[in-house]
């Protein structure tokens, strides 16, 4: 289980995370929703240690990632994978090399085994072997996301963090990516945190939904419960109403 305890983070004196408390249960998909710029990606980057908080803890099975350094931090990171918003595929490597990268860097497997595993992931993501020879700048947005998901999945991590996995995709491709997340989760049962604002599609994959607003989690429950949540801010966001409540 991942526990976020009283997490604070400010940028240039402006509080972005203002005392976040959140539990991400093992083997479940937790979705964090909230408006653009509210700090969802900042929260995600704290979970993997890319950002250091001003105050608070991120406990991964009791280990505080904000305090870890060196080898212990590296070992903990090996349990994670991240699907970044833009895919973060390496420009200088083709699709095959991008997916094989974590294995070549960390797994020390024979080349034949690497090839087998990459082909398996390409097939799982409905990508042809031909696509494996393309470079990231030759791919569509949807293909990039699928390649990034394949790269994230290749080492079969225990925890996967998804940073806005369907932003910029057309509705059919959105559904495809959500379907792939659901399919891979069913197969591997990893712990997932999905940062998104795609309502209601994202509810189809969520076990738990948390809403981030003004630096705090204002609601955290199942997808059906959140639809009935009494907080008007939550209801306004789910219904996609304009920001008059803010005024």
């Amino acid at each position: 289980m991942i526990q976020v305890v009283d997490l604070h983070k400010s940028f240039n004196g402006q509080a972005v995370l203002d005392g976040i408390n959140l539990e991400i249960p093992t083997g479940k998909i937790t979705v964090v929703i909230g408006k653009s710029g509210v700090g969802k990606s900042v929260l995600l980057k704290h979970l993997i240690g890319l950002l250091k908080p001003d105050r608070g803890q991120v406990l991964v099975d009791g280990l505080d990632i904000t305090k870890l350094k060196g080898r212990k931090l590296q070992d903990l990171k090996k349990r994670f994978a991240v699907l970044f918003q833009g895919g973060a595929l390496f420009d200088s490597l083709n699709v095959f090399e991008n997916i094989a990268f974590p294995l070549r860097e960390k797994a020390r497997l024979p080349e034949g085994e690497i090839v087998r595993r990459v082909h398996e992931r390409l097939e799982q993501m409905n990508l042809s072997l031909e696509a494996g020879r393309k470079f990231p700048d030759e791919l569509s947005g949807g293909m990039k996301k699928r390649v990034a998901l394949a790269r994230a999945m290749i080492q079969e991590p225990e925890i996967i963090l998804f940073d806005e996995p369907v932003t910029g995709l057309d509705p059919p491709m959105c559904n495809t990516v959500f379907h792939l997340i659901k399919k891979t989760h069913a197969a591997s049962n990893y712990t997932a945190l999905v940062v998104a604002h795609d309502i209601p599609e994202v509810f189809s994959i969520a076990d738990v939904v948390a809403m981030l607003h003004h630096g705090r989690i204002i609601a955290c429950c199942g997808p059906e419960e959140i639809k009935q949540h009494p907080d008007p801010v939550v209801q306004s966001f789910i219904r996609g109403e304009p920001d008059f409540l803010e005024a």
Binding site: Q74, K77, A88, P102
Partner: protein, 256 residues
């Protein structure tokens, strides 16, 4: 007045902080060269990018620089009846000063700006973060091979510059203006001492490290999207050139 002193203090503090960060970045990058995995393939790739792909521009710059030195040197020396010293004048100018400095400025313009743009784009597209999340140290994977490549490639390019420059001087002085080939080379052999060559090598090592350090640091700390990459690239070229010239003065005074 108080506001001016506060501003001055802020500027100086920022400068000191930035200088300290650059030095720590350099130490981290070099220290990681001795920590496995050693990544020789990445170092070779960077030598190709920074060194091999700069060869043509270095050849052209060196040839024309040597030709201009031959031309200027010939007409200056002729006033004193010392045309025979042309080889020595061209070789000393190139080996001591112009070879290392011009090579560094050309590498900075061609490869330094490219390094900043490459690393900066990796930063803004979260590729560096992706490496970090895969438990791969981004400084070791991206920066360390570039620093080593700068240390290896720039002295070699400087050596090429010196040789081609001397041949450029030969072309103008001997082939076009009629200086004797024997006096061109014998003057050179008599005048150039090991200290001149060693000084040139030390300069090129320092310049190579400086250029790639500045380029990598600026790229690594790029912010604010495409505009940030453009700004970082610009800063790299300007700062590298200024630092190369400042280092040149310090090292020249040391070797004199």
């Amino acid at each position: 007045m108080v506001a001016f002193i506060q501003l001055l203090g802020r500027v100086v503090l920022n400068w000191v902080r930035e200088t300290g960060r650059i030095q720590l970045f350099l130490l981290q990058g070099l220290a990681l060269a001795f920590v496995p995995p050693f990544r020789p393939r990445r170092v070779l790739q960077e030598i190709n990018q920074i060194g091999v792909k700069s060869t043509l521009i270095i050849l052209l710059t060196a040839l024309f620089t040597g030709m201009v030195l031959g031309l200027q040197g010939y007409y200056t020396l002729r006033k004193y009846g010392s045309e025979g010293a042309l080889g020595a004048a061209v070789a000393l100018s190139l080996i001591r000063e112009m070879g290392p400095v011009l090579t560094a400025l050309m590498v900075s313009a061609r490869a330094g700006s490219a390094v900043t743009a490459e690393v900066g784009i990796m930063r803004i597209t979260e590729q560096l973060d992706a490496l970090d999340t895969m438990a791969v140290n981004p400084v070791q994977y991206v920066v360390m091979p570039k620093l080593l490549a700068g240390l290896i490639a720039v002295p070699l390019l400087t050596a090429i510059f010196d040789v081609v420059g001397i041949l450029g001087g030969y072309l103008v002085g001997v082939v076009l203006l009629g200086v004797s080939s024997g006096s061109y080379f014998s003057g050179m052999v008599q005048s150039v001492v090991p200290l001149d060559i060693n000084g040139g090598i030390v300069k090129s090592l320092v310049f190579g490290l400086t250029i790639i350090l500045v380029a990598s640091y600026k790229g690594y700390h790029t912010e604010h999207g495409a505009e940030g990459v453009s700004r970082a690239t610009n800063q790299t070229v300007v700062l590298s050139a200024v630092l190369v010239l400042a280092w040149d003065y310090l090292l020249t005074s040391f070797f004199m």
